[in-house]
């Protein structure tokens, strides 16, 4: 059995990075979006403000967005690293990050309404552990998932009579674009959209959310899904909702789609909406060396 030394300290740095610095691919996409908006438009001014805020937050090492969201940890580790001490160290890092004002105290007891004050709580933060076959390498992907965007997530059960959406890819198209129309500016677009076609209710949403970790420029190995991703990104931008719902050309930065086998009786389409502040950061601990990506 192996234990990672200083995991709490390294995770604190991971949380700081995730809260205060956006990944380069997201910043690039926001810059391209800004350049695509008309001179003098509200959409362009909004993206200028967004980009200025990104620079300021990184320089000041302060949160990009005050809603530092649910910390969601995706941990991949070798079989001989037990998960309970990793979970403990990472949860401690989250409490520490809250004391440092990298995170807002965001965990509220759903029955009493009491805020725990340090981001500790039942099923909070969220952890997904998975063993892999790389010896002596642990990879932790952290996503900070804000509430305003999370509230715009939705799960469709096809067929959907209101949308005229059947159990086929055209039905999937209708569902995903409908989710964007419903979201308008409430979830702080332009969005990164994670989709899962199929699966059971809970698993489908988890798979959709995991798609948000994918870099915007990656290529889905499934050629059908890759084409659907491109098509829905383009059509999403044709909706004209724009940054913050002000109207404009930049509604979606990327659409990432996965599929999961379903029961004959079920056909879910799960849509997870991620705000422009798509905070994700990775930490790799390999043979004792720590790097961040």
């Amino acid at each position: 059995m192996k234990i990672l030394p200083d995991l709490e300290k390294h995770t604190l740095e991971l949380v700081r990075l995730a809260s205060t610095q956006l990944p380069a691919d997201i910043v690039d996409a926001l810059e391209r979006g800004r350049d695509a908006e008309a001179e003098g438009s509200a959409a362009r001014a909004t993206l200028d403000t967004v980009l200025a805020n990104i620079v300021m937050a990184a320089e000041a090492s302060s949160p990009i967005c005050q809603d530092t969201g649910t910390p969601v940890f995706y941990v991949r580790h070798p079989w001989d690293y037990p998960t309970p001490p990793m979970r403990e160290a990472m949860a401690a890092a989250v409490r520490e990050a809250t004391a440092c004002s990298y995170l807002r105290p965001n965990a509220v007891d759903s029955v009493t309404g009491a805020n725990s004050g340090d981001n500790s709580g039942e099923h909070f933060p969220a952890f997904y552990f998975e063993q892999w076959d790389r010896p002596d390498e642990v990879r932790v992907d952290l996503m900070l998932k804000g509430g305003g965007s999370e509230n715009q997530g939705i799960q469709y059960s096809l067929p959907d009579r209101d949308l005229g959406a059947g159990r086929d890819l055209d039905g999937v198209r209708k569902a995903v674009l409908d989710a964007l129309v419903r979201a308008q500016g409430h979830g702080c677009g332009p969005a990164v959209v994670g989709v899962c076609i199929g699966g059971d209710r809970g698993g489908s949403i988890a798979v959709a959310k995991r798609q948000i970790l994918r870099p915007l420029g990656d290529r889905n190995p499934d050629t059908t899904l890759a084409a659907l991703e491109d098509e829905l990104r383009a059509k999403g931008n044709e909706l004209g909702i724009g940054p913050m719902g002000f109207g404009g050309a930049t509604t979606v930065l990327g659409v990432k789609i996965a599929k999961a086998h379903r029961l004959p009786a079920s056909f879910f389409v799960s849509v997870v909406y991620m705000c422009w502040a798509a905070r994700r950061h990775a930490m790799i601990i390999k043979a004792g060396e720590v790097s961040y990506d």
Binding site: A52, Q66, D67, S101, A114, N115, G164, G240
Partner: protein
């Protein structure tokens, strides 16, 4: 850019239209989900007594002609006990739709700052009582926090720090009017347009 300094008069509000860019200065009170539920249930529809009445007496003169900001900030307390705003962008306003029209009507609030826009109840209250909805850039939290010059006080910390009423002094907090007091709403326009586009794209 139009300067709006608190207290704001009805006349100033009536001159504003969707698309105007404003710079808000003066005293602003943050209020989000728990605070809105509290204001309506305790102050407006209840009979406030004790601490609730005392808080109403403190905040009523600030809110009359004042500004409510939908925000749950990241804050820091220094060694002397003073609070500072570290990150303070707007939260999604639509959750306050069941409450806001009552708050505007009963307390005389002139401006609501938030993101994502609000619905017909709030739009109606803006027209009836002379108020506007101002849109700040969601997520621009570090930038906006720098417009906060001072945290004057905080009330109801038992709601949790993000949900408390924070009374702050801001200088040149830039926003766009997206709902005015003449029935205009950018959010309604964009919603209708995007629904039309959806039907065109999906061929139905």
């Amino acid at each position: 850019m139009i300067d709006l300094r608190t207290p704001i008069s009805e006349d100033q509000i009536r001159q504003l239209h969707v698309g105007d860019v404003v710079a808000v200065s003066g005293t602003v009170v943050t209020a989000r989900d728990a605070a809105h539920k509290y204001m309506v249930e305790q102050w407006i529809e209840g009979t406030p007594a004790g601490d609730d009445a005392a808080l109403l007496a403190i905040l009523r003169p600030v809110l009359a002609g004042g500004v409510i900001y939908h925000c749950g900030p990241v804050v820091r307390q220094d060694e002397s006990g003073r609070w500072h705003f570290v990150a303070a962008g707007p939260t999604t306003s639509s959750r306050e739709e069941p409450y806001e029209h009552k708050v505007i009507g009963a307390l005389g609030v002139r401006a609501i700052i938030g993101k994502g826009g609000m619905g017909d109840l709030t739009l109606g209250a803006c027209a009836e009582h002379g108020a506007v909805y101002l849109h700040a850039v969601g997520g621009a939290a570090t930038l906006i926090a720098q417009r906060v010059r001072e945290v004057e006080d905080v009330y109801k910390t038992e709601f949790g720090l993000p949900e408390a009423f924070w009374r702050i002094r801001v200088e040149d907090f830039q926003c766009v009017v997206t709902m005015d007091s003449h029935g205009g709403s950018l959010h309604k326009e964009v919603l209708e347009k995007s629904r039309r586009r959806y039907r065109e794209i999906m061929g139905g």
